[in-house]
């Protein structure tokens, strides 16, 4: 594994200039779809209803962690003793305009479901690609070529290879992948062991949906920025921050789950922090409730959400704002959490936070936002590093 030649931070800060790649100056990748990133998923309740088709239980409905969430990933005990096939797939639409960075985000997002289970070695990746029919020769070659390079570079970062895939023509540009690992039993974290007294750790701040959408308002000049009286410079910085964050692998966070004896873990994507916390809480052996009392939010995104109708734009403060390639959400002991956070910050160069606690409950399992919720605005470390 070696670091790719292209720096995500430099690339995100530079922005994507279509004309530098032989494309028309007004070329906008995200126009090739009407949906963005993990916001494109079929609603969870619709999906669960449809999956009742498989009422003989032969389709095990499991996600991140084999915890009954919907179709997302799985652990299959193999004929070969002590080994399991751990697999996950994801596909979605572009949400940033740089096709290279979209490739990195796509790979990071699909790998994240392995990492959520403590599986840090991926044995193979497949690439899934729907090529927008309206993409002509040059644009197609540039976009697809750069996307592939980004996808491959993050596969390299993950110590794995891309050895197959499928490409079809499609009205929208569709991006995705499959990540598979053949893992020994002890390489997989048991994710249903959360105990009262544990704390909850989050490894990336939330607010991705706000950042991506507000940047879209800016770029497409929708008038929304002026209407809400927003600061263009702050929007741009937040967008750059979230872009870099989405490209970042949760691999170190996954490896450290073993070292610090995580009791439960998942990754935060389309259902938002609270949605995934809720799924995870319901899957625990002990009758517990996850209480969120602290929300780390990408700088300025809380201000935007406050200025929007109901003062809760994109449901940011109620915890269900969608993330793409979000962080890991982990339950572990308080002592271990402190060390876990310290070591992640050292390895990745980005902070992590204790955002809540695990409590015994006599009622229903689930996750809730505490009435005493504290908001913490997370300044961009990529901009700080440059200063």
């Amino acid at each position: 594994m070696s670091a790719p030649a292209i720096s995500v931070i430099e690339r995100a800060l530079a922005g994507f200039k279509p004309e530098d790649h032989g494309l028309p100056a007004d070329f906008i990748l995200t126009k090739l779809t009407a949906m963005k990133g993990c916001g494109c998923k079929v609603p969870r309740e619709v999906l669960l209803e449809l999956l009742k088709t498989f009422d003989d239980g032969s389709m095990v409905i499991d996600n991140d962690a084999g915890v009954g969430i919907g179709l997302d990933s799985c652990v299959v005990p193999l004929r070969h003793k002590g080994l399991n096939l751990v697999q996950t797939t994801d596909f979605f639409y572009p949400l940033v305009d740089d096709p290279y960075l979209m490739g990195r985000i796509t790979a990071a997002n699909v790998l994240s479901d392995l990492y959520a289970m403590g599986v840090s070695e991926c044995d193979n990746m497949l690439m899934l690609l729907g090529v927008a029919v309206e993409l002509d020769g040059v644009a197609r070659d540039v976009i697809i070529g750069q996307f592939m390079q980004g996808f491959k570079d993050n596969a390299d970062m993950a110590g794995t290879k891309v050895r197959g895939g499928q490409t079809v023509r499609c009205p929208w540009l569709l991006l995705g992948g499959v990540a598979s690992s053949v893992a020994a039993d002890d390489e997989i974290i048991r994710v249903d062991q959360a105990k009262p007294g544990d704390v909850l750790v989050l490894t990336k701040p939330i607010g991705g949906q706000v950042a991506v959408n507000s940047y879209e308002w800016l770029k497409k000049k929708t008038g929304r920025v002026e209407e809400l009286g927003l600061d263009e410079c702050k929007i741009l910085k937040a967008f750059q921050q979230v872009t870099v964050q989405m490209c970042r692998l949760n691999r170190n966070a996954a490896k450290l789950l073993h070292k610090y004896q995580a009791h439960a873990s998942t990754d935060v994507t389309g259902f938002g922090m609270l949605g995934h916390a809720d799924n995870l809480a319901r899957a625990q052996k002990e009758q517990v409730q996850f209480v969120i009392d602290h929300l780390p939010i990408i700088e300025y995104m809380d201000e935007i959400a406050t200025k929007m109708p109901n003062g809760n734009g994109f449901n940011l403060f109620t915890g269900t704002s969608a993330e793409t390639s979000g962080g890991l959400l982990v339950a572990m002991s308080l002592e271990n959490a402190a060390e876990y956070i310290r070591e992640i910050e050292m390895l990745d160069g980005f902070p992590a936070w204790i955002i809540g606690r695990v409590e015994a409950t006599s009622g229903n399992r689930g996750a809730v936002i505490s009435p005493d919720l504290q908001i913490h605005s997370v300044a961009s470390s990529i901009h700080q590093q440059l200063n």
Copy 2:
């Protein structure tokens, strides 16, 4: 493994009546896309050009058999000694109107890439689904529910399970899957051992693209049927025949590759019989040419192709007409081929044929159609069985 409650043959013969499922009588599944089945693939030359991005060889470009064709399937030697991860993925668009049968075809088509390598045990399947945005509540639930049932029924037939997947909204209905097997070295056929003197066996007749398209002309009343003076009844029969054939797994054909010591094999899909034969020939260790001197074609499809411009509609007689979930194309000794064909016919109830031979060449490796090509019209055995 038990046979599904729903018979593919009965279902194909009955036709799909939308009103029986609470849908408008004029509901047509294949209208939810502008492309059909394996005809939707990005052209091979475009794909190969794009894949040059990976010029460090880290993306191993291998298909059916690790033979340098394009992105389609792969064999990954694992950290666990003597074991390999064999994986394949495919997704495409509906090409028949019955969503249940589309589910079976989709599963059969993705499994076929494992079978092409002699891997008959699939350890896990993932389902990939793009739900057409225009599908409303009832239609969505019926279509997706039936599709899932068909996909699951063929997974059952294959002795495997569907344990994950991904669902997004998409302008077109997009159907696909991933099939994975963790296989010991000796479960995988070496597919580069064809020798001069070998014969080539094909396990399903060609002409699928002609059958699907001519049925489309009929159904959509495009005027083409009258213009070419075609027989509606014969078109319908051919469509039913190809529907059943596309649902049929190549699993027995795969198991017998071992018993009869196949030297090379692939499956016939989007590039057509000759396209896949050509890819396979180029991948052989010995400097050989595959010569096709016999084309088994679904009854009446040769007549349609003859009546079309150039007398070669869909390039049927030049061998590149696209198939979806086509048969295996196998190189083996003449003696073994006779036994292989006999045993497949016994197990599957459908015929297979010797369609060509392997010759030494001093020129380029590849596959060619013999000047003495014989056309053989394959009558529908599903209709015969009913008489």
